[in-house]
Amino acid sequence: MKALAIDTSNLVMGIAVVDGEKVIGEYTTNLKKNHSIRVMPAIHDLMKEMNMKPAELDRIITAKGPGSYTGVRIGVTIAKTMAWTLNKDLSGVSSLEVLAQNGKFFSGYVCPLFDARRTQLYTGLYGFEEDRFQAVKEDRLVLRSNWLDELKRLEKRILFLGNDLDLHKKSILEELGDQAVFGSAADHNPRPSELARIGIEKEPESVHHFVPSYLQLAEAEVNWLAGQKK
C-alpha cells in the first residue's frame, strides 16, 4: 500500500510517503512559518522526488489534531480533498498519538503534549498495554495542575514529549520530581513516517464526515451555550 501522510496540526510540518512497510520519503520542518504556503509545495516536491503520481496513492493520512485550529484544518482539507477526488482511503490519527510514538520503547508511560495557553495542555497518556503501544488515558484539553495531579497518582515513570515542554518543565518537575523523564531535541518533533505507519493500520474514515479533532468548541459557541443556560 502506498500512502501519503500530512501533518500541519502544530508548528512542526511533516510529510511522508510510504510504500507498504517501507518509508520512502520524509520531510519535516520545525519553523514558525505559514503551513498554507509551504505544505502543498512540499507535497509536490516529495512526490516528484519519489517519481510518484497522486493517482498511484492508495491512501491519504492526516494528523487530525489537537493543535492549531487553522493549522490542522489545512492538512485535513488537503487530505479530504485528495482522498475524495482520487477515490482513495482517508485515515486520521491523533496528533498526540503521533508524537507519543517517539517514546514507544520507553518502559513507563509516555505523555505527549502541546501548549493550549492559559496553563492548559492538549495531552494524553500512552503506554504498552495488552501487547501494544496505545492510549491509556484519552486525549484531552486539561488544566496543567489537574493533569499533573492525575499523573502523580499513577506512581510510574513518565516520559514527556513535545516542543512546548520549555513552558511547562518547571511545573512538571515541581509536581512529579523523579517520576518525570524528558525527551531530548530529536524526540520532540512528531514524525510523519510514524503518522503514516499508524494511519495505514486504521479503519478508513468517511471522507465527507471527517473533521478535525479540536477537543473544544469555538469560543463563541461556548459563550452562546452559557447564555442559553441562564
Partner: protein, 338 residues
C-alpha cells in the same frame, strides 16, 4: 474540434461554502452554495472560527454535489479557480487548500480570483460586458465604484472611507432590534414606510466618488435615542425608509455622475446588497432616461457564490493568470493589482 472550457470554482471567503462549474465562461452547469447563515444567526453575525469549521465539514460534499449536478467528472475540467481574497483568512484557507489539492491531484492549472472581480463578473453570466464599464459594488464589506476599460482591468475610482453600506444596514438593523442579517429586513420594512425623517447624505467633496456611511449610521442612532427621550416612538417602517433613501440617493447619484464623466457603455450592479429591492428600483428609474445600459444580476448571483468566481476565473485563465502551489489566502487582497 474545439474543446469546451470548463472551470471548476471554489468560494469560501465568508460564510458560504460554494462550488460551481461554468462552461466557456458564461454557461452555468452547476452552482452549489451551502449557506451557514442559520448557524451564525445565533451569534448576531459571522464568527470566523465557526465559519472555518463549517467550511471543512462542507467542502468535499459541496464539490461532489456540483460535479454531479453538472453531470461532468474532473476529466472534463480545464482549470480550478478559487477566491484568493479578500475575506476572512481562516475561511479563505479552506477553499485555497482544497483548490490546490484538487488541481494537484489532477494536474490542472490553478487560477486565483479576487472576490470583488467575481461579484462584477457575475454579470457576464447574464449579459456580455461592454467596455468601458462602471461597476457599483455594494456588499457587507465593500462599497466601491470600479471602472473597467477591458477584461481583467480594474480601477477603483471611489470607495467607502468608513463603513461599507452593508455594515451600516446591519448596524441600523440592530438599532431596530431586527435579526441578523439586517439588510433584507430593512429593505422589507422600507417598502411599507415613508422617508419622512430628515437624515444626512454624505456627498463629500464635489468631485469625489468616495462614500461615507458612519455619519448616517450615527444620525439614525441619535434620532431613535432622542425620540425615546421625548417619549415618542418612530415608526420602524419610516426609519427604515428614510435610512434606505439616504443610502440609495448617494449610491445612485454618484454612480450616474461617474457613468457620465467616464463615458461608459454599461453600468453593472454587483455584490450582496445588489439584492436590495429599493436600490434596484432606484437605479432602474435613474438609468431608464440615460444612455448607459444598466445590468443587474438575478438575486442568486448577487450573494456570494462560486459561479461568479468561475466567470472571473475564465477570463483570468484565458489571460494566462496562474497560481503555483504556494498560493495563500490573502484577507486584504488589492483589486487594482489584479
Amino acid at each position: 474540434m474545439k474543446q469546451d472550457e470548463m472551470i471548476l470554482a471554489i468560494e469560501t471567503s465568508c460564510d458560504e461554502t460554494a462550488v460551481a462549474l461554468v462552461k466557456n465562461g458564461t454557461e452555468i452547469m452547476a452552482n452549489v452554495v451551502a449557506s451557514q447563515i442559520e448557524s451564525h444567526k445565533r451569534f448576531g453575525g459571522v464568527v470566523p472560527e465557526v465559519a472555518s469549521r463549517h467550511h471543512v465539514e462542507q467542502i468535499t460534499v459541496v464539490m461532489e454535489e456540483a460535479l454531479q449536478m453538472a453531470g461532468v467528472t474532473m476529466d472534463d475540467v480545464t482549470a480550478v479557480a478559487v477566491t484568493e481574497g479578500p475575506g476572512l483568512v481562516g475561511a479563505l484557507l479552506i477553499g485555497v487548500n482544497a483548490a490546490k489539492a484538487l488541481a494537484f491531484a489532477h494536474g490542472l492549472p490553478l487560477v486565483p480570483v479576487h472576490h470583488i472581480a467575481g461579484h462584477i463578473y457575475a454579470n457576464r453570466l447574464i449579459t456580455e460586458m461592454k467596455f468601458p464599464l462602471l461597476a457599483l459594488v455594494v456588499s457587507g464589506g465593500h462599497t466601491e465604484l470600479v471602472l473597467m476599460k477591458e477584461h481583467g482591468s480594474f480601477e477603483v475610482i471611489g470607495e467607502t472611507r468608513d463603513d461599507a453600506a452593508g455594515e451600516a444596514y446591519d448596524k441600523v438593523a440592530r438599532t431596530l432590534n431586527l435579526p441578523y442579517p439586517g439588510g433584507p429586513h430593512i429593505d422589507r420594512l422600507a417598502q411599507d414606510g415613508a422617508p419622512v425623517l430628515n437624515l444626512p447624505r454624505a456627498w463629500l467633496e464635489a468631485d469625489s466618488y468616495d462614500f461615507s456611511f458612519s455619519g448616517l449610521k450615527s444620525a439614525v442612532i441619535n434620532t431613535v435615542h432622542n425620540a425615546a427621550q421625548r417619549g415618542e416612538t418612530i415608526k420602524p417602517e419610516d426609519l427604515a425608509a428614510s435610512f434606505q433613501e439616504s443610502v440609495i440617493d448617494v449610491l445612485v447619484e454618484k454612480t450616474a455622475r461617474a457613468a457620465r464623466e467616464y463615458d461608459v457603455k454599461q453600468v453593472l450592479l454587483a455584490g450582496g446588497v445588489a439584492a436590495n429591492k429599493g436600490l434596484r428600483a432606484a437605479l432602474e428609474a435613474k438609468f431608464s432616461g440615460l444612455p448607459q445600459e444598466l445590468a443587474i444580476p438575478p438575486l442568486y448571483l448577487c450573494t456570494d457564490n462560486a459561479a461568479m468566481i468561475a466567470a472571473a476565473g475564465s477570463i483570468a485563465y484565458q489571460k494566462g493568470k496562474r497560481a503555483d502551489w504556494a498560493l495563500n489566502g490573502v484577507p486584504g487582497l488589492d483589486l487594482e493589482a489584479q
